[in-house]
């Protein structure tokens, strides 16, 4: 079975957070966005592990900025969603919306 056929739930959430943040997507801002939207605070290590996996699959790319003293002399790593990543998000959205439709239990409510 093709393991890359679908995005895992957290991978999709992280990709969406990176897309929402645009040029300001780095570890801290992504974790903050996830906390704001999901009301759960993921560990920074989990965010990076997911981003590394997405980068290996070619769905995100990263670049290092200049090191700053307030980060102990360490650089920020900014992330961007690549074209295959964007395509994958659209594909996942299409599949999810298709599955969502015509489920009687999910009709007429927001919860």
């Amino acid at each position: 079975m093709d393991q890359d056929a679908y995005l895992r739930d957290f991978e999709l959430i992280v990709l969406l957070a990176v897309l929402r943040l645009g040029d300001d997507a780095y570890g801290v801002s992504i974790a903050r966005e996830l906390k704001a939207q999901t009301r759960r605070e993921p560990s920074l290590a989990k965010v990076y592990a997911t981003l590394d996996r997405l980068q290996e699959k070619g769905y995100v790319s990263s670049r290092l900025a200049d090191p700053t003293p307030e980060r102990g002399g360490r650089a920020k790593r900014y992330f961007n969603v690549t074209a295959p990543g964007l395509k994958k998000v659209r594909e996942t959205q299409r599949i999810l919306v298709k599955l969502w439709r015509d489920v009687p239990k999910l009709e007429g409510g927001t919860a």
Binding site: L44, Y48, P67, R71, G72, K76
Partner: protein, 207 residues
């Protein structure tokens, strides 16, 4: 100006488990958030998560090596344990008597009891050393994993497991559990010491 600093112990752990070298941006993020006012508990949770993810990633990437390390380490523990059992077969009674040496201080009683588990600790140390010796490049991930596997084995099979199960239903067995408990402390420490011994010697050789 913010004068908070990431504790030296946290920085040391991150360095030892290669998180700093593998992902400097993550350490920068932890640093930044800690200076922004997150608590020490938050910091330690992040540090532990970073170490667990770093070790997990290394093990996931080298699955066969991980299995091989656990098996070779386990064989080393079993061989060493058997050899010590044979070597000490005439002295077990003396060790048992010494380990039960009565003292008015409970902590001294506990220390004497540890004596009984020294041969087992040596076997665990040999296991840790073998894992480290034959998997030098990945020892930072494999030695802690081997220590965890030994704890799981101790808790799930053998004498300690039986005593734990018995002491849940029958309070009179809790004394035996207390007697066996030093093994749970000694086992991971011995494995890590065995792995660390190898690293120190390798480091000295490099100098």
């Amino acid at each position: 100006m913010n004068t908070r600093r990431v504790p030296a112990a946290a920085a040391w752990l991150l360095k030892v488990f290669r998180v700093t070298a593998n992902n400097p941006a993550l350490i920068g993020d932890i640093h930044e958030e800690f200076l922004n006012g997150h608590s020490s508990i938050w910091l330690w949770k992040q540090v532990l998560a970073a170490i667990v993810f770093s070790i997990g990633k290394e093990l996931y990437r080298h699955k066969l090596l991980t299995i091989r390390a656990i098996l070779t380490g386990q064989v080393a523990v079993m061989l060493c344990s058997s050899a010590l059992n044979v070597a000490l077969r005439d002295h077990w009674l003396l060790i048992a008597v010494l380990s039960q040496f009565p003292s008015s201080l409970w902590i001294l009683n506990y220390v004497f009891r540890i004596l009984y588990f020294v041969p087992a600790a040596i076997a665990f140390m040999a296991g840790g050393w073998i894992v480290s010796r034959f998997h030098a490049e990945h020892r930072r991930a494999l030695v802690p994993l081997f220590a965890i596997v030994q704890i799981i084995l101790l808790l799930s099979v053998g004498e300690l497991h039986r005593v734990i199960v018995d002491s849940i239903t029958q309070p009179r067995f809790r004394w035996y559990l207390w007697n066996q408990s030093p093994l749970l402390i000694l086992c991971p420490l011995a494995v890590l010491a065995g792995g660390y011994l190898r690293r120190r010697r390798a480091g000295r050789r490099a100098e």
